[in-house]
Amino acid sequence: MSIRFFALAALAGALVAGPASAAQTLLNVSYDPTRELYVEFNQAFARHWQAQGNEAVAIQQSHGGSGKQARSVIDGLRADVVTLALAGDIDELHRIGKLIPENWQERLPDASTPYTSSIVFLVRKGNPKGIEDWDDLIEPGVEVITPNPKTSGGARWNLLAAWAYAEKKYGGEAQARDFVEKLYRNVPVLDTGARGSTITFVNNKIGDVLLAWENEAFLALKEEGGDALEIVAPSLSILAEPPVTVVDANVDRKGTRKVAEAYLEYLYSDEGQRLAAKHFYRPRNPEIAKEFSEQFSDIELVTIDGYFNGWKEAQPRFFNDGGIFDQIYQAH
């Protein structure tokens, strides 16, 4: 008997034993900062699902950059549900992958976004550069840390928030372009993802202000080195909407549609909403939001659909090759 035989036998055993051990498994493919939220939510849902008289369900989660995660699913990762950073990435599951219908975002309440976030400033303790609002970011001598919008979903929200502020305050597209150009002139490093930028700002101590997801900013405060930081809320920001959907092609093949749909619906339940708020996402349910009103500061928020006509228009206009972001760097 050779080693190869044992290896084959073990592999065969794993294939047979795999599906039999847990009654049902779900794979939730998500983006980076939701890790802690879904660890807790998955346990809550598993309890709830069994309490309703269903057989046990095991939920696996996968995290990474939002665009990279969407590509993995398009390229064949068997996700039952995706919970990504922006609708634009999920749209590609329809456009390239043909895995979900075009109207996927209409299937759940609030444009399939059970929780939201925003873009805020993270500054050093005591706010030595006196940063209060977007105007302070374009001052000479202020270093701004934000990831590369080409590779980071979060960074796209950052740029759009700055754009909306400048366009509203200074009155036109030309002014907004000028403002954003000045802002990026103050950016010394463009990391590829939100976590990379957090490391650059918090651990390597580069820069005066980090543009961050509100939930990431709260997390950074809780972690090591967090007591040397504080959050500044700008007067206007963007409502960051990370949506969720069932991946139809995969749940139909695996026979998990019922539990996958229940999983996402449970995000809208009182428990799901409270867990989102506990992990610093803004809950959609106004009652629950009121319970956590002290946690979230009152910011005027523009929406991607209301202000930028949705990702289908914003993505090519700002971020694809030759878009506004590329033009900023060609002008230099």
């Binding site: 665009g67 590779t151 990391d191 590829t192 490391i199 390597n204």
Partner: protein
């Protein structure tokens, strides 16, 4: 009469067949797929992508820093190999083991560690700041990261060759009146050069494609510190698979030409 010769060792057909199958599965098919994917673009589209200002800037940066890192390792690696082969000293086995560490360490870990050290506020980077220049987030930082990950190549290719040169050869040269520099130039260098070129080429090729260790220290500023592999990632993040493969093909072709040149140089040296 045919002058066909039969190799002394049997099994030529079997080994050649095995080699071809193995190479096809691991190298040729994936690379072929890359070229086929790139044919989705018309020639004009392909040309527009690979000659855009940003791609050309990244091309210069990627190949320039990889070349510089390979040259640096060519010099320092030769010294290291020399010290390790020719001298016995305490702690040599530990240094031997340390040389391979850059291979064992996940490249992202190396990248984050180097960035933390050489960032303008880092333990080493602050001295550079005091002197008025920056290491991390500049081409210098990229070269540094590449020098780190490609360190083992030159050392490991030179060591066995150096060990094979008998000391007596050098002594004989010295007895015949050669000065130390002449011994190096006419005795050691010709024997070492082919292996040195192999190590250099390996280090260079690895450096061109390196992503993980570079991406944290590069700073990724368009036109200034963007490496080619990052531009491939950028294309993928726009779901532009064809655009990504176009840049991939460009890298492959340039690398292949350079490696071919190094190989030809090596053959000429070996013949001489």
């Amino acid at each position: 009469m045919s002058r066909r010769t039969f190799p002394v060792i049997p099994g030529f057909g079997l080994t050649l067949g095995y080699t071809l199958v193995y190479l096809s599965l691991l190298v040729l098919i994936p690379l072929g797929a890359l070229f086929i994917y790139a044919t989705q673009l018309t020639w004009a589209e392909f040309w527009a992508i690979v000659t855009s200002a940003r791609v050309l800037a990244a091309l210069k940066l990627s190949f320039g820093t990889a070349l510089l890192a390979a040259l640096l390792n060519g010099a320092i690696g030769t010294l290291l190999a020399w010290a390790l082969v020719r001298y016995t000293f305490s702690g040599r086995t530990i240094i031997e083991a340390m040389i391979d560490l850059p291979f064992a360490l996940p490249t992202a870990v190396a990248g984050i560690a180097l960035t933390a050290l050489y960032a303008p506020t880092g333990p080493i980077g602050q001295f550079a700041t005091a002197l008025g220049f920056k290491i991390a987030y500049t081409p210098l930082g990229i070269t540094l990261a590449l020098t780190f990950v490609t360190l083992p190549f030159v050392v490991r290719t030179l060591q066995p060759v150096l060990a094979d040169i008998p000391r007596e050869v050098e002594e004989a040269a010295a007895c015949l009146g050669a000065k130390p520099l002449q011994v190096f130039r006419y005795v050691l260098l010709p024997a070492l050069l082919p292996a040195w070129l192999t190590g250099f080429a390996l280090a260079f090729a690895r450096g061109v494609g390196e992503y993980g260790s570079v991406i944290f220290i590069a700073g990724n500023m368009p036109m200034k510190t963007e490496i080619l592999p990052l531009l491939i990632m950028v294309q993928l993040d726009q779901y532009n698979y064809a655009g990504a493969t176009a840049i991939g093909v460009l890298m492959l072709v340039v690398s292949f030409i350079l490696l071919l040149l190094i190989n030809m140089l090596q053959r000429r040296i070996a013949r001489a």
